[in-house]
């Protein structure tokens, strides 16, 4: 109804000159922006509302007729379940280690490839390539071709140096997942930091060096501060995606052995689609949403601030 009213208004004011243009603009922008907004709103609100509703119900797809309201019980069960503690711990370990690895190596690599050298273009292309490999390929190539205890490349290297090959997926399953995911996300950090490095003031660095500053000094006092915002962006965006790592676990360990590689995302998936427990899975889903929102809150602030700065 509002829409129709505003169209009528716009028509009326058609002949009134100056305010006419502004109104027309508002109308145009309303019609052009609303499809996106409405779609995203529907996409967010309906499923999220259903998740909230289901999270308070005892609802199993195997016995849908026995559905009743249970309040917070699902949350209680989900949180006290054995899987929850491991799920949260594994999620934190996964996110924390991958962030540390990708940011530290990302900074080092972006500094390394910033000075011109022979074949710089090809080196950059090779460095960012893993990011474009689909997660299921990434996981299986690492599992079968590289980390495999008998025929993998890592095993061959161990044997060559006279060590017993490591059976990554049964002895250090979470480490294996961390390696796989880090390999995929390191290029993301490199790509963003490399781009940020290009706007670094070279003359300032030269000047500092002529004044007798060591490479380490230049790195600490000029390079690192310059990269700080890009690093913040890398950390925030990676956090969002790493919180819901799924395919890499699904295709390699299936969350096991036991709960050793089950993160929150995988735990919720197994509640929902393996045990058909809609109520529990929804409660878990909401907990995941809350955790992600805490991280997102800061990201939106940083990026949003940047949006208004640069025009």
């Amino acid at each position: 109804m509002d829409t129709l009213a505003s169209i009528d208004k716009a028509k009326e004011s058609d002949s009134t000159g100056v305010s006419n243009a502004a109104k027309k603009n508002a109308l145009i922008s309303f019609f052009m922006v609303s499809p996106s907004v409405i779609l995203l709103l529907v996409w967010m609100i309906i499923p999220l509302g259903m998740t909230i509703y289901f999270s308070m119900m005892n609802y199993n797809l195997l016995s849908p007729e026995d559905t009743w309201f249970v309040g917070w019980e699902n949350f209680e069960y989900f949180i006290t379940d054995d899987g929850f503690a491991s799920g949260v711990t594994n999620t934190l370990i996964l996110v924390g280690s991958v962030l540390l690895i990708t940011v530290v190596f990302g900074i080092l690599i972006s500094v390394l490839v910033n000075i011109p050298f022979w074949g710089q273009g090809i080196v950059r292309v090779m460095l960012i390539s893993p990011f474009f490999i689909m997660p299921t390929v990434n996981a299986l190539v690492w599992k079968n071709l590289l980390l495999h205890p008998v025929s993998g490349v890592f095993a061959a290297i161990s044997v060559f140096f006279g060590y017993e090959p490591i059976d990554w997926f049964s002895d250090y399953p979470l480490t294996a997942i961390v390696i796989i995911v880090s390999w995929q996300w390191l290029p993301f950090a490199v790509l963003l930091l490399m781009t940020a490095m290009q706007s670094l003031d070279q003359e300032q660095q030269e000047a500092a060096r002529l004044d007798g500053a060591s490479s380490l000094d230049v790195f600490r006092h000029l390079t690192l501060p310059h990269l700080s915002r890009a690093i913040a962006v890398v950390v925030m965006i990676e956090t969002i995606f790493l919180l819901s790592i799924f395919a890499e676990i699904f295709t390699t360990t299936g969350g096991g052995p036991g709960y050793e590689t089950t993160n929150l995302a995988y735990l919720i998936y197994s509640q929902a689609l393996l045990q058909y427990d809609v109520g529990m899975a929804s409660a878990g889903g909401l907990i995941a949403v809350i955790l992600a929102n805490i991280a997102a809150f800061f990201l939106v602030r940083i990026v949003g601030k940047n949006l208004t700065d640069n025009t």
Binding site: I28, S29, P35, S36, L39, L40, I46, P47, L48, M50, T51, I115, P116, G119, L127, P130, F132, M134, P135, T136, V137, N138, A139, V141, N144, L145, L146, S151, G152, A155, A156, V159, F160, L191, L192, T195, R229, V233, V234, I240, F246, T251, L264, A265, Y269, G285, L286, A288, V289, A292, A295, L299, V300, V303, G304, N306, L307, T308, N310, T311
Partner: protein, 278 residues
């Protein structure tokens, strides 16, 4: 022997360059190894120690289609990622246009809110989406995945297009308007030609993200609509020696996106960082 400053610096550059090459080769090695393995026979692929020198064979690429119906999955990937990208662009570009050139009080908030929808972890809505899809018979359908991919990539597309439109000076559009161009002419003749590089990379990013998406495709498809990510995942339950074939399928599945990524690496930074790094 003392080196002059110039020689020292040259040596330094060469050393750093060599180190950069070493690091790059190490990081690229898994991809190189995958491609190499795809040209081995299954026995060579399983050999210990891994064989570096062998007679390449195309056998795997030939048998892939017989064994796994590769083109069925590849076609699904193509249809799903291209359709969702086209629909996404049709919705995103007008929104970005209007937010960039007809700014209102709400524009900034709307953009931030759109970004925030990206933060919703997919597991948080897995159950309702699964149930809704079941009720609407969208499980294992291309339409279903197209809807999901359009929606999850929409915020990124709006953001990316917005940052490119923002760089076009408003004066140029106003000059055209004064010359009597209407809005469509203005968009078609001036705006699109000026931003086609940016819009092309927006398209590429959306294609890359849809092509590689593996949460929804694994959970919502079985065979009919299953894209390549699901086909590859089906290789995780081994039945005999099949790594050369796995490598061949993977190489085929990743090659187009890898090339897209290489082409658009510079512009992608902006989309991947929501405009925060340029």
């Amino acid at each position: 022997m003392l080196l002059t400053l110039k020689q020292q610096r040259r040596l330094h550059t060469v050393a750093m360059g060599a180190l950069a090459w070493l690091v790059a080769l190490l990081i690229f090695f898994p991809i190189f190894w995958m491609i190499l393995t795809s040209f081995k026979t299954e026995i060579e692929a399983f050999a210990t120690p891994p064989s570096l020198f062998f007679t390449p064979t195309l056998e795997n690429y030939i048998t892939i289609n017989e064994r796994s119906d590769y083109f069925h999955f590849a076609w699904n990937s193509v249809v799903i990622s291209f359709t969702s990208t086209i629909i996404g662009m049709l919705i995103a570009v007008p929104a970005a246009y209007s937010m960039a050139f007809f700014e209102t009080k709400r524009t900034n908030f709307t953009l931030q809110w759109m970004l925030s929808t990206k933060m919703l972890p997919p597991v948080g809505v897995l159950v309702p989406i699964y149930l809704l899809f079941k009720d609407f018979h969208l499980l294992d359908s291309k339409t279903g995945l197209i809807i999901i991919y359009t929606l999850i990539n929409l915020p990124i597309m709006v953001w990316m297009a917005y940052t490119y439109f923002k760089e076009v000076p408003k004066d140029i559009l106003e000059a055209a308007r004064i010359d009597g161009a209407n809005m469509l002419q203005e968009i078609w003749r001036i705006l699109l030609p000026m931003t086609k590089g940016g819009l092309a990379s927006t398209v590429l990013l959306s294609l890359i993200l849809s092509w590689n998406e593996a949460f929804w495709s694994l959970n919502l498809t079985a065979y009919n609509a299953a894209p390549l990510t699901s086909l590859i995942a089906s290789y995780s339950s081994p039945e005999g020696l099949f790594w050369a074939k796995l490598s061949a399928v993977s190489t085929l599945a990743c090659a187009p996106i890898l090339i897209f990524g290489w082409i658009s690496q510079k512009q992608l930074v902006r989309g991947l960082s929501f405009g925060a790094v340029k």
